[in-house]
Symmetry: D2
Subunit: 315 residues, 4 copies
């Protein structure tokens, strides 16, 4: 079928390729002329036969809202817009309302798979009406992995349910990544295991912890066994934060996902004000040697850990 596709970055570009390979006719638009199929959104609308289906794949927040507004102007009653970006689910109802003013339909679709989706297919979670989902199904079938439809696609609920599901997916992802990472660190720290990358690789089949993320970590360790070439600086892309905020809204305890998010926050700090405050307290009550910003004030031995305590550092 025909599809308009707005946003031809790494994800959008890959999706265009996968859809075309499946025999669909994709008209892509991107502000960068070198990758765009048409010169404008108006041209995109003109290149598609009504009723049109247009997939938006641009950054969440204002860029997506802007695309929705622009599409409202160039599309017509009966057309359908799909937001496949990483939008916060609370953006979906307003987006749908904007389009509904002109009789244009709306679906929100969470998309997972990263750069591997082009080859493997993308996991898809859709929110909206059954009628709209049905209309876009050929696109979903082309984007999702091979196999039973229900193992790579779900109609999760009404508008917003797709992005909500994707948000939770990413929250879980934070927890999974941190769990593997903690295990990797402990294996490395103990120095009893002489082949840490080999241990992780041996978990690839048969074990309880086997997963695609584990496979990726095995790949990374084969390229750089101690991960020494990487900085311990980890971004977060918003969904983890939204997950915690949503949990707070519903009084759901998320100790693991929040710990994973906070570990990322901490990873980006050059100096932690909180830990400076703890150091200050130890200095105040115990006369404990602390490190100043320019170096230790105490004797080296006093930093060597809990076994090196002396009677003088008691609290």
């Amino acid at each position: 079928m025909q599809l308009g596709l707005i946003g031809l970055g790494r994800m959008g570009g890959n999706m265009r390729d996968r859809l075309r390979a499946a025999g669909h006719e994709v008209v892509g638009y991107d502000p960068r002329p070198e990758v765009s199929d048409v010169a404008s959104l108006a041209d995109l609308a003109g290149a598609l036969s009504a009723p049109r289906v247009v997939w938006v794949m641009v950054p969440s927040g204002e860029p997506t809202r802007g695309a929705v507004r622009a599409l409202r102007d160039v599309l017509d009653t009966g057309d359908l817009v799909i937001d496949g970006g990483n939008s916060r689910y609370t953006d979906d109802a307003p987006n749908a309302a904007l389009l509904d003013e002109k009789g244009i339909g709306y679906l929100d679709v969470g998309v997972s798979g990263g750069i591997w989706g082009k080859a493997n297919g993308y996991g898809l979670m859709a929110g909206g009406s059954a009628e709209h989902v049905e209309r876009a199904m050929p696109i979903f079938d082309a984007l999702r992995p091979e196999g039973p439809r229900e193992e790579g696609f779900v109609h999760a609920g009404p508008v917003g349910a797709g992005h909500f599901s994707k948000m939770v997916h990413n929250g879980i992802e934070y927890g999974l990544m941190q769990a593997y990472a903690e295990g990797f660190e402990l294996l490395s720290a103990a120095e009893l295991v002489t082949d840490v990358p080999g241990v992780l690789q041996a978990w690839s089949r048969g074990t309880v912890v086997r997963s695609w993320l584990l496979d990726l970590l095995v790949d990374a360790l084969q390229q750089d066994p101690g991960l020494a070439k990487l900085d311990d600086y980890v971004e977060d892309s918003g969904e983890g934060r939204w997950t915690i905020e949503e949990a707070i809204q519903h009084a759901v305890p998320l100790p693991v996902i929040s710990a994973a998010l906070f570990a990322r926050f901490a990873s980006r700090q050059d100096s932690s004000p909180a830990m400076r405050a703890v150091a200050a307290l130890r200095q105040q009550f115990g006369g404990h040697a602390v490190r100043t910003a320019t170096g230790p004030t105490g004797t080296p031995g006093e930093h060597a850990g809990p076994t090196s305590g002396t009677g003088s550092t008691q609290n």
Copy 2:
């Protein structure tokens, strides 16, 4: 090859089946005569040609130590004992030393796969000398999943490294399980998603969070979509505790794995003394309504959450 196998419970029994299916000759011993191949450990030793290899698959701690001691008595110099149980890695060096007194070799092997291992193969992590690993390799090859050896087996290091790896594997497992569980709870609590089991199933292919544990959760949800038939009471089998203790030893922060362990501890409490103490404090400083062990003391509205606060409950 020939193998003695001590302990024919669910794991040991399955392993005997899998080894025999692969053409190995297994002589199994278990105190329950109805499953045992021989009447005693002496008979087991007698049924095997030297140099013997005997796999111990009994509960960790005293039962395993007892089996090692008993094997020392019935085996000879040049034989090899493999502890495939869930022993703490700190038990391995003493076990090896016990056997070494008589010139008997020792390997510790972490085994993962649960009841699925019989069909799928088990992930194996071995600790000990290269020579001993080499001697037992036909057994390892039969037990591990099909595919490249290094994806289901590793020689992790010296004696202890196998069980250490398995311990960390299980620590990671705790974190992974809790991450999925938290996501499941949030999806369920928000009530926007109308098909929670469907969302998890749609993550089975293509997504970043796909894994074997996810597949199992999908299976469980197909049998009982709200998991309403289960109690929220979760055991722990020791490895998670050991993982945290080991992390403390090495000053490795494990916020996610510890949170997962503590969630299990909390799940088993009928009443949390800590939370009673928090309730007591709120009552003391704020005159907050609290629930007594027999029911609320305040008006019902005062329990309805943060939006129901009144000027009178301020602190």
Copy 3:
């Protein structure tokens, strides 16, 4: 000086008493005629000489917003409104803007002290202009504890800074309470200490952990040594949630305060969906005995903890 006071619940009523005891003239309004000094807000405005100062002490959110709107109608240019309730700091700028339309000033004041404030004084954190703070200072001086002004009062910054400070105060409070509570539980669980209430009482002087919250816990334990009369059900009043949301906004890791908040969430669950999911996973991969909603399926011994594991429950 003269003060109008809206909201005569536990906090407002106590504050009226303390202010009058300090010689101030307080005109209180409450919808409950039996506690109110005047019949309406219009009467309250009429009873005060311009420029008026009116303190609002009602529940946060819509009640406070409603009071601010109503005061805008009955007050005049040059008057001053103080929100002393537990408002979210993001409500302050809109409240101030509403009043500014008519030339009425605004201060937000975080108030801590609970029911003890009437006797001991309240800790106060004010946000707004220096001029407004100065005008209300006699009221602040009467409400705050005796001693140096800066030990019970602060002009924390512009509008919003008072409630922001109070929000963080309460977030810290959650962490402190949980820390004591965890210690209490561990002391009780270990059964080595034969006088747990006595240990906490002995921390009252000289120790690093001495505090007012500790004193309150000692009081509670003297009334009920095991806190057996209380349910382990703990409300939260919103500020803890806001604290975490604010931390997420600023990428500040708050592992302790979030853990304290989540412990409260968990305390209110009859059955944790997350822990049912973990139980389901254990059942799936390991054939572990689990408890169903109506009772255990396994043998009793299989619930007895990590030392009771058998070879058959291995993963």
Copy 4:
């Protein structure tokens, strides 16, 4: 009364001063002749009249065990040894047994108060027999703060209960410190509050969070308002670790105290292997820009946080 005192470091020296000021006769021994009252333990024993009481105030572990052994040699039946150091409670029974071989009594006493104890008195938690506690009471009364005995001293239980109580005290202390530190960081990060030290100082009286630790933090902030002179490197002295290990032993969830301990561990890492692993995973699945050990590989904008995401970094 007469007291032998072994270990004249900061704590022991201060305690000698405080005891002498209270009129007790203290014979101190330290390997450093410039602070020692006697030349050897034998001289110390000789200088005291039987039945002797000797207080040991040396580093925990081997130094304390060594002092106990040495005292067994120079003391006699009926004498009493008090370990006032920061020993792990599991050391107490062996120490008591060593001394009991010769009929020498033993008390373990947890001591809190740091360098302030000399002036303010020390909080004391004793473990051992009532008879031994009674004999040493004049010493306890001199060391503890003024006020009711039970507010600065407790006979917590049998041998070990004193150090157990002190261990839990310190675990709580970790949680309290981290709670204040997190609040300090959030106040600082938000930039709405213009006087962060002033806010903490205003909590000194009347508020729910007032405490001695808060007073110390206020002092530290008056010397260095942003704590900019300190490094964010925080030692731990063992008791926090023991607290978590003990909690694991008893299946007690300690989310706050463990989070505080792990924050200290993390504060001491130059580069976190776990966070490098998370960064590696993000790079693998999403083609996310990461920082290498020598600098960012992506464009600066890609590090600016969740709002700067682009369609190309989707997972």
